[in-house]
């Protein structure tokens, strides 16, 4: 098991390196002269030259990359062009809303999708089955920002239950945070719920026909223990993989949702940074999101090995 985990970990290293090269090249090389941008409007040629020296911009590209990477690995992503503060500090100040949003979305999705998908698989043609199809179709086709506005229109404006926009920090009280993040998480969850419901339904259907499930039934076990202990446990591996793969749409969704609901998180920061041509921040956020996504998938692969020992050997 340990060697399987190590093997999987080692295969992700070249992918991570490749991503860092890609992010570095697309944003550093083509973004014009960072020294001129940092200098602002009233800057002399000597000052630009001084900044260039300071940032190591006179070096060849590969040296610049190594320099950037070694700093990034130590958590130093340079200074934001726009906010004029260290990017790391900037990012840390924006992490909380995004984390709260992601965790809540994940919880909402799993709590809705897995029971719904299981129910849909157990009774083909039932209400749960049609509902799961409908949710999946909507989740795949209706953009997150449209769902977001629909939820705002219904719950905030018509019913007045939740704040329209904005975010309350955890230090203001967990209830206020929950009230300000419940709608964004629901909006964000639609994509995820669609994906998860479908895969739960498919993998439960597959397991339902297995011999050991028939045996369990024949032994006279109650339906619920069979479903939980025999069916879901064995259907879990593909579900875990999809939860992890779904993080890609979760990250995309975070960027959009934070803009819709005006939440000052990482996704919002990235959009603002792109609009302000603040390349160090954009670079750092893309890198962090992507590394996070790759690591989540690595974790999923490893847990796949635990859930289904045949994979690991």
């Amino acid at each position: 098991m340990f060697s399987y985990a190590m093997r999987r970990f080692i295969t992700t290293i070249p992918v991570l390196l490749g991503i860092s090269v890609l992010v570095f090249l697309t944003l550093r090389v083509s973004s014009g002269d960072p020294a001129a941008i940092l200098g602002g409007d009233a800057v002399t040629t000597e000052q630009i030259e001084a900044i260039r020296q300071q940032l190591g911009l006179g070096e060849p590209v590969w040296k610049q990359y190594l320099l950037w990477l070694s700093h990034a690995l130590r958590g130093d992503f340079g200074v934001s062009y726009y906010y004029k503060m260290p990017v790391t500090q900037l990012i840390l100040s924006r992490v909380e809303p995004t984390m709260v949003l992601a965790v809540l979305t994940l919880a909402v999705s799993i709590l809705i999708a897995i029971p719904l998908g299981t129910a849909a698989a157990l009774r083909a043609g039932s209400i749960a089955d049609s509902l799961s199809t409908a949710v999946a179709v909507v989740g795949f086709s209706v953009p997150v920002f449209v769902v977001g506005y629909a939820l705002i229109g219904l719950f905030s404006i018509k019913l007045g239950l939740t704040p329209v926009q904005g975010y309350h920090r955890l230090s203001d009280g967990a209830l206020a945070t929950l009230a300000s993040t419940i709608l964004p998480s629901l909006a964000l969850a639609t994509v995820y719920i669609g994906l998860l419901t479908r895969i739960t339904r498919a993998s439960v259907l597959e397991v339902l026909n297995a011999d050991y499930v028939r045996t369990a039934k024949a032994k006279g076990l109650m339906p619920l223990p069979i479903t939980i202990k025999h069916v879901l446990r064995n259907a879990a591996a593909p579900i875990v993989t999809v939860v992890a793969m779904g993080f890609a749409s979760l990250i995309s969704g975070v960027v959009v949702t934070e803009s819709v609901f005006n939440i000052p998180g990482l996704g919002r920061l990235m959009v603002d940074a792109v609009l302000a041509r603040d390349y160090p921040s954009v670079q750092a956020i893309i890198l962090i999101f992507t590394v996070f996504y790759v690591l989540i998938n690595l974790l999923a692969d490893i847990s796949y090995g635990i859930l289904d020992p045949r994979v690991a050997s």
Partner: protein
Amino acid sequence: MKKPVLSLSYAIVAVILLMAILSPLIASADPNFVDPFNRNLAPLASVNTAFLEDKSARLAVFGTDGLGRDILSRMVYGARTSILIGCSVTVVAVLLGTLIGLICGSFRSADGVIMRVMDGLMAIPAILLAIAFMTAIGSGVWTVILAITVVEVPRVVRLVRSVVLSVRQEPYIEAAVSLGVPTGRLLARHILPNAVGPLTVLATFILSAAILLEATLSFLGLGMPQDVPTWGNTIAEGRTLFQIHPHNIWIPAAFLSLTVLSVNVIGDGLRDKLDPKNASRAR
């Protein structure tokens, strides 16, 4: 997928295509014409023609936006942008992806390197990759197409490569090789036809994904320039007045969602037709 739903989807896509091709004929007004006396008209409200050259009584079918621009016209021209970008991305991604996929499937030496690059591209969530490219090159029609194409190409490469690898073992390929069929011809005539079915299905999903991604980028203000009437731009501009004049968002949102939904349903239908044993399975 049920028959009527599928037919309805084809009908919706046909209407959108017509709108895209015949935009100047269908649109009743210039989509960028700013009319300060007819701002934020509700759908079906009559247009105040006192200050306009054309005095004929008429309705703003889908209302007007915060600058008095006719939303129906913006939707019609928006369809043109969406279809143009969706189709360009699909065609380029499929052609380029097929070429790269064939190379990967045929030449071991190239396979390792190219597939690592593709893995890297696929490891970056679509929207981040597109934003990275948009930031690097600047916004505009071609950049949007390029950025979305980069996101979609790896999917095509994977598909074509896997088809080549699985077909390569078949006896008829061996027979063709031993008859001395040149590699290019072998790929084009004997291997590629096996990929046409799955590629068609993938192409529909790329089309819907591209339309959705373009709208999302435009919504974030990172996609098409603001003077281009697109569904995403219209939604983005409707945000400020959402609480008072929600039609600025609902109407483009409906166009966007219905189009993407219909293309997805058509894709599902095609897949079920090509591969009936997958009919009830998840994507």
